[in-house]
Structure formats: structure tokens, C-alpha cells
Symmetry: C2
Subunit: 510 residues, 2 copies
């Protein structure tokens, strides 16, 4: 209990300092090791003498190479390390180590809202899809009035949310990258938490015309009566535009208000996983606990989505091996290659990930960050890979390719169909989404104590020995079901912390 | 009075249909011309027989070439036309037709807020700069409480505005394009309407650290006391973060509330010009009237900014000729070349501009749109050209290179130092900004009548002969001074229509 350091894998030649005050010089560590210098909390201490040019092993994998010999007991700082190359995409093992299915977990249910398309909502929200950024202030104005004047009369409806974004006009809408933001806006409207009753607000002259956003006859065609077009001749001025939106909204509210929560199997859950403001503990405490919860969810039949291309790129070889088929491995490699090219066109590569906070938190580079990040995915087989903005249709563990930006990733996971969001953080971030409940997990107890109204689960107890990866994972699994069923609200939902949607537009603006 | 068609330039071989009902087949036009078919309002009718492959001349310039012969009286539709190539950037005439200065206009003043850096505010706003998107909901939460609880005690302060944006982390911050969004966020904080009292809210672990945003000792270094860092140990939870922001804000409010409007010469005006939802009338009515106002403003010593690279690209040869020096012409060509390359990298070119609404409104292509768009710039010499996100320091007419996206352009003009915004529209858009008053001008009377609470000036009266370009231009000039001095509020300000800031990030996200 309450160890000084944590080693994740038996072959690791470094361990992570646990105590908030760090190690002092001369501190006695397990196995007769003595620290040669002070090492801050969550940073790495060398367990053996490490030769110049040798690998630093963490999670059993080479996360870096040394630039000079590092004696045992030293602080293994970023300046002493070089980064390994990313795994070669032409050499990845496809479906070579597919984990066998684990025993199903039967009988887990939550009270959800059943949708006509077979999805299940965890909330009952009226959403306004916007075809173009021009209408955003008008829609916000109307949404605010609806929340104040109409919503109290429809207590079964949880919220009114304007799906504002920065797309639709002033963009190269026929450029190769344009498909991504367009399908994102479309699929956001199909999110299970909007109950299939999305109202579309269009300006009229924009590039992203409603029929382009929702091709008639397609899976996501809209009913004509749900479209409000601000430039229509029938609206005399702003007041009438707002009135038209409110009138259309009230019809939708009446429909939504008649819905009732019913017991749904856990297979109706689509849980999106993300991390933001990670530290070296994230990969030891919060992310493995989420990984355990992910395994439980998969066993219970749910869909679990993980994402963030630049944070899995260095673990590509591990993930292609876990793909359930060679086809899925090929899809994974296609997404990695697309992102490599995208970054290269912009003069960057995957090392553009890692922040000053990551480094201060002990993460040497993107390889170490990635190894900790993929711990969120647990140990199941990877059943499908989707491109940015696509809907996820598979059950089980799915990789939805997205940027690692918290806001873009969250938006794309909502477009993928996420109805519950789990977010781990080391440094702490007051993050939240309007369209799905967000459960926040701290990698360190200090953060959980400092932010009691923002953090839902303290995974730091794993480092101190007060809890285990399995116990915190189970706690999260149970909380997901409670929140999904509307019996609890996580902190971010209580505070109404709603980060704006952020689209991924790889194409140019005009 | 009330003509059927308008020809802009004596050499034009097309004219624009004026009447809302359009032309019927067989309508008698001036000069014995008879229409051969119905032609909708704001579309083009052929004034002469035009041979196959001949140029269509509008504004005295070739806006297109015909794909087949077009008899006089025909509707000159987009399908009958091909687009000319963009002017060759290596062949542009530099400073070859510099307009001589027009007689100065003396004695025009407005009541503004003088700033320490020599700029003048037209409004007295407390702004919150955000270093990263993570803090946006927290800052919005605090701003809303400040507006409700504190602002009523400081009646001299007009508003509290969170400068939220989608940058700061999850981005390739060392990529070549990153300088643009970073300097934009920095220069937004220096906008004259924020009075130099911007409060900076940082998360803590983000890539865009406060010292990177505002390098210490630089022109825009911040006072340490104005920074609130959410991850600071001293904030116990969300409530204390909000309290810290409110406490810092109240100190700023007290300073801002002591400021008084004083008479300032018109040279304190920095007027940004933009158009959105243009039609074929925009280049005949609203934009030329704005151009006349621009000339008056320049004569009164003000700075006038026009922008929108893809909407001036096809008029490059006219603009380099008007540059006051070969250096300024070189700067202009540099910006055009940069944007050509940027679009090419994304698989697009300048023809990605023009929308379904533009085309429905009679604009055949980007050349015709550009010729109408540059009319906003009036007839003065071009004194300076700035890159996206840079501050404008010159007086007179300045080209600030920006995308044509209304929201990105507006944001970049605010970063350039704009304290008044003028926006022309043909199709109509309920556009507005939080940081500067926006005056909206309709190109057609029908729109002005339909949207009386959104349109400030009806330039459609120019088409019907009820007013002239000069009279509407003068009306706008007078209104700009009244609004700048706080004696009037334009429609968008009254309704508090605040489009979110939209950064231009040519670099990749991670």
C-alpha cells in the first residue's frame, strides 16, 4: 500500500514516482534502489543502469532511447531521450493476436429512450441542426427563449441544444476534405440523444444546402416540415424568424415530451472514451481503469469507441494485431496513413502532439503518451474502424479515427453516435458536452480533491493502493449505467459545461 | 427613374434586370431592345449580339466568355459562360495608376474612448482573452454572471465579451501556419474597443501558454495580475475558478467605468468592410455606395480596411495598379500567392468561392462577384497590405488579406484593429459581432423592407433611382460617425447578434 513508485510491466526499466511530494535525493526504493537525485511526482526514475542508446521500456515497450548512459536511481528526464520512429505502416501485423471473446455479462440494463432507428438515447434533447454558421446567433437567441419560455411546459425534455458550428459557407465545399465536416454535421443530427426529432435551420443562400446535408431519400433525410429557412419571404424580419423557429420547436417538444424511459439492455450504450491534459499517471491509473470498464461494457454487449489518431499512432502495431480481421486492420492502417499525410501537408508530424502540461506531468514524448492513452481501449478485439465523422454501427470495441483535440474528438464521437462520454484527465480540464453526459476521471487524488465539483471518479486511489484498476473500472461501469439511465448527473452536466462543437475540416476555407 | 435594367459601364454588353418581377419575354428595353425570353431580377440580359467565344463585359471588364453565340435580348445564364483565368501574379502592374489624394475633409469628429496606445474605442467593452478552447464554458459561465450581477453597477461599460475560439491546444503549434491564429488571438486582445484592459484566462497545461501568446516585454505584454489560470492550486473547484474570474473582472470593470467619451477626429475610425450573401445588385448599389463612403472616410483621415482574398483575386491587376508604392504592390502579390498556394494544397482554387445563393442572385462566377466586391474599396490609393491576423497601422485604404468567410473575415478585421464594421448583403444574413458595431446595408429594397429590424440602410434605392451612390454613401458616412460616437445603435447591436469568433488556422490539428 501507498508505494513510492509504480512499475507497469515486469520488463520496464523505469518506474513512475507516486507521492505528491516526489522523491528526495537518497530516498530508499524497493529492491535496494536509492534515488540519486530528486524526482518529481509522476516522472520516471531509472530502475537499472541504462546504457547510452538503449531503450527506455515502459508498458513493456520502448518509449524512447537514451542519449547518454543513465545510472540507476536517476531522474529519466526528457532531455536525456530521443524519440523512436513511428511504426512503419507497411510492416504492421494484421489480426495476428486477436483476443478471444470474454464471457458475456448478462442482465445489465439502463432506462433509456428507444429510437425508431434502433439506437437508444440516454437523454431526451431537442437539437437544432444548423446548415451554416450564419444562422448561429439567431438559433441561439431562439434556443434561449425556448429554454426559458417553452421548456418548463415540457418537463420530459432535458434540454434544447443548438448544434452551432463554423461550416456551411466560406469553405471549399467540393475540395477533397469537405466530406468530413459535411458528414459530421449530418451525423450529429442523428445522435441517439436527439431522438430523431432534429429541427434544421438554414439561411438559404449557403453552400451547404439542406438537400446536400440530408440527401432526399437517404437514411437521414429530414421531413420537410422540420426545416426553417431564414431567407424565406414569409419571415418579416428577425422577430418572425425567431417565432418560426419557436413554433417548429414547440411541435418537436410535444413529440419528445411524450417519450418515456424504458429498460434497455446495456447493448444500447455507445460510450466514447477520451483523455485530455494527460500526465504520466494517466496511463497507470485512470486509463487502465477505463480500459477495464471498456472490457466490461464490451462483455455486456455495448459499443465502446476510442479515438485520437496521434495518440494511438505509436501503438499501431499493437492495435492492428488486435483487429478482428485483416479488413479491419486495413481500415486502421488507411486512417493512420491518411492522418500522416494530412499532418505532412501541414508541415507537422505526430510529435506535434504532447503539450507543456504533458511534459511537466512526466510524459517524455508522444510514444509514452500513446502507450498510456491506448490503455483506455482495454483488452478486447477491435471490431471496426471508422473514418472521421462516420457513424459507428458495430458492437464491441471500435476505433473512430479523430484528431486528439478534445473538442474535435468529442464532436466526432457524438457524430459517431456516442450517447455517453468518459473523459480522463491528469492536469485537469473543466470539459463538458451539451449532447451527451460526460463522466470525468482524475488520474491523481490531488486533482480529484482540488476539483470536487468537476471530477466524478478519483482513479488516483489506484496509485496509492486504496483501490485497484479493477475496482475503479467496475465503479465506472456502474456509474455509466446509472448516468445513462438518468438516475445520476455527472459534474459537468450539473454545471451545464458545454464546450462548443468543433468540426474537423481538413479542406481549405475560401 | 425606376429603370428596367442597369448597365454599369459604357462598354458593357450586358445589363442587370432591376424590377423584382424580372423581365417578361418581349419586354421593351431602352434603345429599341426587346427581351427574347424571361430574365429574373438581378440577372443579366445581352445588350448586343455576342459571338461565340466573345467576352461578357461588366464593370467594363471581361467577367466571362461565351460558349456559343448569344443574341441580343437573351438571358445571359451561367451555363452559357466559361470563366477567364485569374490574373497572372507575375504580370501585375505595380503602382502604375496611383490615384492622387482627394481633398481632405476637415472637422468630422465622433465621441470615442481614447486608449493609451493612440487608438480610439467606439465601445467600452470588457474582454476575456482565452488562451485555449478548454476554458470557454467556464469563461462563458463567469461572463454571464458578470453581465447579470456586476455590469449593472458599472453603467459606463457596454458589455462583457468572452473571446472564445477553437485554438490553443490539440493543434500543430509549431507548424508553418500556426503564426496566423496565434497573432489573431493576441491582436484581438488589443482591439481598441477593449480599452487595453483585457483579462486573460488560461487553463495551465495548454500549448498556447500565456507567455507565448503575449511575449513578456512585447508591445502586447499583459500585466501579471490580469491572468487567471484555472489549474492553479489556489482554486478549489469550479466555483472558486468562477469567483477568481469575477474578482479580476470587477477590478477591470472599475477601471473601464471611469472612462468617458471625448470628441475624437474621424482619423480614429478603423472601418472594416465586408460583404456576405452577395447578388448581382451588390456590385451596383450597396458596394459602390460603401465605396463612396470609403472615399469620404479616407478623405476624413480614417483607416478603411477591405479584405476577402478570393473576392479580389480576379481584380488583382486593378488593385496593384492602385497601390501607393511598388512595395505595397509586392505585399499584395505576396498575399495573393500565399492564398493561391493554400487553396492548391487543399485541392481547390478561387472558383470554390460563389455560393448557390450568389448564382441564384445572378452572379455567373467569382470574376463577376470580385468585380462587384472591390467596388467597396472606392477609388483611393491602397496604402498598405497586411497578412491575416496582423494589426493595421496605416491610415487611408488598407487591404487586410483574409478568407472571404464572413466570420473569419470579421474576426481577422477585429484583430486588425477595426472599431466599426460595415456589411453589405444581397440575399440577407442576420450577421453581427460582439466586439464592434455592425452596420448592415441591403443591395435591394425588397430585402430592406422584409428585414426592417436587421437592415440599417437600403441601397436598393440606387437601382430604382430614388437615391444615388453618392447620397447613400454619404448617409452611411454620417451613420458611421453617429454609431461610432454611441449616439445610435445599428440593428445587429440592438438585437445582440453575436457571431462567434472564427480563427483562420491554415495549420493542421493534432
Amino acid at each position: 500500500m501507498d508505494p513510492l513508485v509504480i512499475r507497469v510491466h515486469p520488463s520496464d526499466n523505469v518506474a513512475i514516482v507516486v507521492r505528491p511530494e516526489g522523491l528526495t535525493e537518497g530516498a530508499a526504493l524497493p529492491g535496494g534502489l536509492v534515488s540519486r537525485e530528486a524526482v518529481p511526482q509522476s516522472h520516471k526514475v531509472a530502475l537499472h543502469d541504462i546504457a547510452a542508446g538503449a531503450p527506455i521500456l515502459r508498458y513493456g515497450a520502448p518509449i524512447a532511447f537514451t542519449t547518454r548512459a543513465i545510472p540507476r536511481g536517476s531522474w529519466v528526464r526528457g532531455e536525456l531521450l530521443t524519440i523512436p520512429p513511428a511504426p512503419d505502416l507497411d510492416e504492421l501485423p494484421p489480426a495476428t493476436a486477436v483476443p478471444p471473446p470474454q464471457p458475456p455479462l448478462e442482465g445489465f440494463v439502463f432506462d433509456g429512450y428507444r429510437n425508431a432507428d434502433g439506437t437508444v438515447g440516454t437523454r431526451n434533447i431537442l437539437g437544432f441542426t444548423t446548415t451554416v454558421q450564419c444562422v448561429v446567433p439567431t438559433v441561439e437567441f431562439a434556443a434561449e427563449r425556448i429554454r426559458r419560455e417553452l421548456l418548463p411546459r415540457y418537463p420530459g425534455v432535458d434540454d434544447v441544444v443548438a448544434l452551432g458550428h463554423n461550416y456551411g459557407c466560406g469553405v471549399a465545399i467540393d475540395a477533397p476534405g469537405a466530406a468530413v465536416p459535411i458528414r459530421t454535421v449530418r451525423n450529429l443530427a442523428l445522435n441517439p440523444n436527439l431522438g430523431g426529432e432534429t429541427l434544421v435551420v438554414s439561411l438559404g443562400c449557403e453552400k451547404l444546402q439542406p438537400d446536400r446535408l440530408f440527401p432526399p431519400g437517404g437514411e437521414c433525410s429530414r421531413g420537410g416540415e422540420t426545416l426553417v429557412r431564414l431567407q424565406d419571404d414569409r419571415h418579416h424580419g428577425f422577430a418572425e424568424m425567431v417565432a418560426a423557429i419557436m413554433e417548429a420547436a414547440e411541435k418537436k417538444l410535444a413529440v419528445l415530451a411524450r417519450r418515456r424511459r424504458v429498460a434497455c439492455p446495456a447493448s444500447g450504450l455507445v460510450v466514447g472514451l477520451q483523455c485530455g491534459g494527460s500526465d504520466a499517471f494517466s496511463g497507470v491509473t485512470a486509463n487502465p481503469a477505463v480500459g477495464h470498464a471498456a472490457d466490461l461494457l464490451v462483455r455486456a454487449g455495448a459499443t465502446v469507441i476510442f479515438s485520437e489518431v496521434t495518440e494511438v499512432r505509436d501503438a499501431s502495431h499493437l492495435l492492428t494485431a488486435r483487429c478482428c480481421s485483416e479488413d479491419v486492420a486495413r481500415d486502421f492502417i488507411r486512417e493512420m496513413r491518411w492522418y500522416d499525410d494530412y499532418l505532412r501537408r501541414g508541415g507537422a508530424d505526430r510529435t506535434a502532439n504532447t503539450t507543456p502540461g504533458n511534459k511537466r506531468g512526466g510524459l517524455a514524448n508522444i510514444v509514452e503518451k500513446a502507450m498510456g492513452s491506448v490503455a483506455k481501449s482495454g483488452t478486447s478485439a477491435l471490431m471496426a474502424v471508422t473514418a472521421p465523422g462516420e457513424r459507428v454501427k458495430a458492437k464491441g470495441l471500435v476505433f473512430a479515427a479523430t484528431p486528439a483535440s478534445d473538442f474535435i474528438c468529442g464532436t466526432l464521437q457524438l457524430a459517431a453516435g456516442m450517447n455517453m462520454h468518459v473523459f480522463t484527465t491528469g492536469e485537469g480540464t473543466p470539459y463538458g458536452l451539451a449532447m451527451a453526459p460526460v463522466i470525468k476521471i482524475a488520474s491523481r487524488t490531488a486533482l480529484a480533491r482540488r476539483w470536487p465539483d468537476l471530477i466524478d471518479i478519483d482513479a488516483g486511489r489506484i496509485a496509492t493502493g486504496e483501490a485497484t484498476i479493477e475496482s475503479v473500472g467496475r465503479e465506472l461501469f456502474d456509474l455509466i449505467l446509472e448516468v445513462a439511465g438518468g438516475r445520476r448527473r455527472p459534474c459537468a452536466e450539473t454545471l451545464r459545461l458545454h464546450n462548443p462543437l468543433a468540426l474537423f475540416n481538413p479542406g481549405p476555407v475560401t
